[in-house]
């Protein structure tokens, strides 16, 4: 059984709480954290020609922004606490991509923050945490 945990963050307060939770657990159990940020993207979207022409450039900007403003600061906090961690920033449908990452890094658990969306919004778009719980191959901890 691997001793690594996939921590999904999104720059929200829920993600911040998930980070705190995962950090405490990692300290206790000496686990390695895989810090992941998934930029929501679908290969089946409809775009204007201009959006497509600039996609490559935008993709790099999106990755840079997510890395610099969300993932790197989180990794800094973890390193300061002496926790072994690795970061991933990638595009994709969030829940599906997190599961792929969980498989790829053979993690024992996924930790994710709760977004706390309103009823209708959650009904229409679903929630990442909700989807994860339904489909994840490993236990999922949803931090409220």
């Amino acid at each position: 059984m691997s001793n690594s945990v996939l921590l999904a963050i999104d720059g929200s307060a829920g993600g911040e709480r998930a980070l705190q939770y995962a950090m405490e657990r990692a300290k206790l159990g000496g686990a390695k954290l895989i810090v992941a940020y998934v930029i929501e993207w679908s290969q089946y979207s409809f775009n204007t020609p201009e959006e497509n022409a600039e996609r490559h450039k935008r993709r790099e900007q999106e990755i840079k922004r997510a890395t610099e403003t969300i993932v790197d600061p989180a990794a800094k906090v973890l390193k300061a606490a002496d926790i072994d961690c690795q970061t991933v920033v990638t595009h994709g449908p969030p829940a599906e991509t997190l599961i792929k990452l969980a498989n790829k890094y053979e993690v024992a658990q996924i930790v994710i923050g709760r977004r706390g969306q309103s009823g209708i919004k959650a009904l229409l778009f679903g929630s990442v945490a909700g989807n994860l719980i339904q489909t994840s191959p490993v236990p999922v901890v949803v931090v409220p």
Partner: protein, 500 residues
Amino acid sequence: MIRFFAAAFALVMLALPAHAGFDEAINAATAPIASAVGAFVFFKIPVLGAQLPLVVLWLVIGAVFFTFYMGFVNVRGFKHAIQLVRGDYADPESPGEVSHFQALATAVSGTVGIGNIGGVAVAVTIGGAGATFWLIVAGFLGMSTKFVECTLGVKYRQENPDGSVSGGPMYYMKKGFEERGMEGFGKFMGTFYAIGIFVGALGIGNMFQSNQAYVQLNTVAGGALDGLGWLVGLILAAVVFMVIIGGIKSIARVTEKIVPFMAVFYCVFAIIVILMNFTSIPAAIGNIFAGAFTGAGVQGGAIGALIIGFQRAVFSNEAGIGSASIAHAAVRTPEPVTEGYVSLLEPFIDTIVICTITALVIGTSQVADPNFAGDATGVAMTSAAFERQIGWFPIPLAFGALLFAFSTMISWSYYGLKGWTYLFGEGQMGQTIYKLMFCAFVALGCMVQLGPILDISDALVFLICVPNILGLYFLAPIVKREMVSYMARLDSGEIKKYNH
């Protein structure tokens, strides 16, 4: 040509303080220009009693040649095209780039326009039911032409210093010929094409679209907009202006997302109408086949039907025009030929599926009641065919026509702009001039009768296929080499399918 634009532009500007009779004045002014341009491009030769425009022959020969030369890639590559669009071969290590599906969807929404609704009606009116058969054949052969041009579009696209990409015939001419040691010729061809596309964008992707959107709106309004083409035109132009000059991209994004659903909605209702006319289906299909080979009642007989079918098909699916390769060029793939495969689905969806459905809606209505549409042609005829069975349908059809027209105009403004920047560079001033001209033509389209617009648009469109197809002949061996090598690696298992 520049004088032609200047005159047209001035006319549109004059429209501001216009009155109801203004549309007529515009009509009178443009009709001679249209027929002169048309006569030049559509130089006709008499064949078996029909007048065959040279340029149509040019397209047919091109499409037949590419179909044979590529070993019927339009049939043999079909399954692989679908696998690619599904993302079966997408590299899981680089998500977030333009996918095959996205490039196809963007190109399709540029091609699926009013041609699919109104253009087919024009074909059936002039070429009889048999034109439908040739329309489908043209769509089928056009798949091979698309394959060639879109592969080249990706292979020779240009990566700009700012990280964006520009592609299309002007780039594959320039770079492709350079590679073959014909640098000067490549430059000439690239320039030729770039002029063709930026001028051509004002017809097929602009005036024809706004014209037919106006016609359908007027039909729904029961003729209340008669003589108010200038007003509708100015409103449409203003919306296009907001998007392409005002930078309000959200309008374009929303349109882009609604159009695919509208297309599905249109097809579903078209099929319902066909089924409601079900007793007429066998006769309608019989007419298509009979007309294709006998040309009963059509001027020029079977050849006449063939000419019309091919003309309308190209107008609708743009195979041979090279425009779609500009949109397809944005895809990220290490194998340019994959985008060629994907692109062959475009004439399939556009012509073989959507145009055929429209043709059957009209055809079955004609069997049931030969005079169902009265004198109406174009989109008004299609609308009448729907109305026979579903009384309220012209209203959503008008909305759909507006959206189709709009998305096609946005795509073509981009295609035209790419031609413009290829020639005159990325200067903001020049781009704005082009965009203003584009908006002016949107307005103009609503003021002119369908006839002259079709003449101008057809002429401009076919003008672009001359350099494009000529270039494709020279560059086709490169595409064939890529295709053979790719297929070999696919068969040997070197190119793997990723399991998703």
